[in-house]
């Protein structure tokens, strides 16, 4: 009775999948590696960037949309940030603010195209994805923006902000980027749960016509959703740059699919109107552990891919509504 009711809660089902993954880890522990905190710490660091994108993605998906442009926004932000800080030696904090603003701006433009001009999110963001990847290459002149300056063929100093973001805290036990991830999750969870905007996200995704009739500013809601997605992508971009110690225009190709995977494996439905951050976090950990387990066991490429596919299906089967 109550057990059945329990199972009918998406969060519980998301947890099921995650626990399943952990069990798998204890089986394939690569002679104990899985039981060292270091492994979990690294897993968290690896999943952080995708997780941060997934936060924005969740919001967009809840409004019934999808945002394929995130990976390119990420790349452009990484390049832009590196250009500003490494080559132009701009004040790092100023640079961060600028990059975040840019990300939000780009997002809101796609948002307007979706909300105001009612173009399918998939097309708009696909176009944005291509366009911004181009922009990243244009900005960087096709080269990685690292401490090496082609003009003078010299190496400049790497700004401290890079080590700062790539560092660890809490007795070296948790990466800053992971902390940033958790902050992003918390912020978006708060947004969804406690604010009016959050309600509007759900309403718009649940039934846009009804939402409009109820006086929900549907258009503004959509714009904000995509703007936030862009913002989070920019945050991710800065983290990525800091971790790679360079701005690589080619970075994070295909992350958008990973982010979407995280969202849906958490249990949020792409048809919109449902879902939440808890699910996304669970999804992120599930994927993160999957990758980590396969990696510490040095599984070969082909088998790695095949296992990933199979395990994802199992995870989802495990958590589907009875």
């Amino acid at each position: 009775m109550t057990f059945h009711r329990l199972l009918s809660s998406p969060m519980v089902r998301a947890m099921l999948a995650l626990v399943g993954m952990l069990l798998l880890g204890t089986l394939l522990h690569a002679d104990g590696a899985f039981f060292h905190w270091a492994t979990h710490r690294d897993m968290l660091r690896q999943i952080s960037v995708c997780g941060i994108i997934a936060c924005g993605m969740t919001l967009v998906v809840i409004t019934g949309g999808i945002d394929l442009s995130v990976s390119s926004v990420l790349a452009s932000s990484a390049v832009g940030f590196s250009l500003l800080t490494i080559h132009l030696q701009a004040n790092p904090w100023l640079a961060i603010v600028l990059v975040l603003l840019a990300g939000a701006l780009v997002g809101s433009i796609t948002g307007v195209l979706v909300g105001r001009f009612a173009i399918q999110p998939f097309v708009v963001t696909l176009a944005a994805m291509v366009l911004l990847r181009g922009l990243a290459k244009r900005l960087s002149g096709g080269q990685k923006i690292s401490t090496y300056v082609a003009a003078s063929d010299r190496n400049v100093e790497l700004p401290r902000i890079f080590e700062l973001i790539d560092a660890r805290v809490l007795g070296d036990e948790i990466a800053i980027v992971t902390v940033i991830l958790f902050v992003c999750v918390a912020v978006s969870a708060f947004l969804l749960r406690r604010t009016r905007l959050g309600r509007y996200f759900y309403a718009t995704g649940g039934n846009i016509e009804a939402a409009r009739l109820s006086g929900v500013p549907v258009m503004r809601t959509l714009v904000l959703a995509y703007a936030l997605s862009g913002l989070f992508a920019a945050v991710a971009g800065i983290c990525q740059a800091a971790q790679e110690q360079q701005g690589d225009p080619e970075t994070s190709v295909g992350y958008e699919l990973q982010a979407i995977a995280i969202v849906v494996i958490g249990g949020t439905n792409l048809s919109g109107g449902r879902g939440g951050m808890g699910l996304t976090l669970a999804g992120a950990l599930t994927i993160g552990y999957l990758q980590k387990i396969l990696s510490i066991n040095a599984v070969g490429e082909a088998s790695r891919l095949m296992l990933t596919g199979i395990i994802i299906v199992c995870a989802v089967l495990l958590q589907r509504r009875k």
């Binding site: 690569a30 590696a33 270091a38 690294d42 990685k144 190496n155 110690q245 994070s252 510490i296």
Partner: protein
């Protein structure tokens, strides 16, 4: 990436000579007003090494007022590259430079163009037949061997090695792997062990992820050999995170100025082996072809080793 060795079935020597192109095939006078047009089809620009090759071509060509180069990039898709090649033929350029993504899909189109008397210079990846004007490229197996030897020497016959491979479905990665094992010669160095290897698909973030796993599963690592410099760099960052970067040496390949070389300068990599792009040689050869001179069927480019102390001197040649 898709850098590759000399053609497997090419029995051509420097002496071997075949008249390449007849003058009447030329569409332009080759004066600054009406310069020769050279079509350059690059398989993709996603990889810095290939961007570098285009730059080298561009730089070399800029010195020649009678040359004009048209660049096309095939977005890493053999089919796209094939139709771009066909476009060059249709639009009647004087020489075609092609750095193929795949051998098989381009063998036929190139052969056709070559039979039609259009000079084709193949860069970095050999084709299945040798119906082209000339092939310019370096030898990945050789480079792998050099890396292997260097590691064996530095370890003095004893130690643990991590190998971070490039995309293993690509020829260059396979050859850099094969060469490395040959150079390492484990039979005669029983105490050298490759304790961890993974396919990082030429990508730095993947390399870092795999290296973290390697570190988690291996208390002692002496050398990290990555199939490209970004891979080595990613591995270094992973080791640095756990404060073990000093305990091991990092070896990379490619030695692009903004990557390998600068990493060596920063003391991140111990050594990197240059994988020359052949861009400059390509233009030189093109000029000779346009002048109607004979060119060798195959030009194999030498590799150079860059270490902290040899960078200033432009590295040391390895023979």
């Amino acid at each position: 990436e898709n850098k590759s060795p000399a053609p497997s079935g090419g029995s051509t020597t420097l002496a071997a000579y075949r008249p390449t192109t007849t003058m009447n095939a030329k569409k332009h006078k080759g004066t600054p007003e009406d310069p020769f047009v050279i079509g350059m089809s690059q398989c993709n620009l996603g990889e810095p090494w290939r961007a570098q090759m285009n730059d080298d071509v561009r730089k070399a060509a800029e010195k020649q007022p009678q040359l004009k180069v048209v660049f096309k990039d095939a977005q890493n898709d053999s089919m796209v590259q094939r139709s771009q090649f066909e476009e060059f033929v249709d639009q009647g350029v004087d020489v075609i430079l092609i750095s193929p993504k795949e051998s098989a899909p381009l063998t036929e189109p190139v052969a056709k163009a070559h039979r039609a008397g259009i000079p084709v210079i193949v860069l970095s990846l050999a084709l299945l037949k040798d119906e082209y004007t000339t092939f310019i490229g370096a030898d990945n197996v050789k480079i792998g061997q050099e890396a292997g030897k260097w590691v064996a020497e530095t370890l003095a016959g004893k130690g643990t090695v991590v190998e971070l491979k490039g995309l293993m479905t690509s020829v260059p990665a396979q050859e850099r792997h094969r060469g490395f094992l040959e150079g390492l010669d484990l039979r005669n160095h029983p105490d050298i062990k490759v304790v961890f290897d993974a396919d990082m698909q030429w990508l730095e973030p993947n390399a870092r992820r795999e290296m973290e796993s390697a570190l988690a599963t291996n208390p002692r690592i002496d050398v990290v050999y990555a199939h490209n410099d970004p891979g080595a760099h990613g591995a270094y960052l992973a080791a640095k995170q756990v404060g073990r970067e000093k305990q091991m040496k990092f070896v990379g390949i490619d030695a692009l100025p903004q990557e390998g070389i600068s990493y060596v300068k920063d003391g991140i990599l111990s050594v990197t082996f240059q994988y020359p792009t052949g861009g400059t040689e390509a233009i030189a050869t093109a000029l000779r072809v346009l002048a109607g001179e004979s060119v060798p069927k195959k030009i194999t480019l030498p590799t150079r080793l860059f270490a902290a102390n040899t960078i200033a001197g432009g590295g040391t040649a390895v023979q």
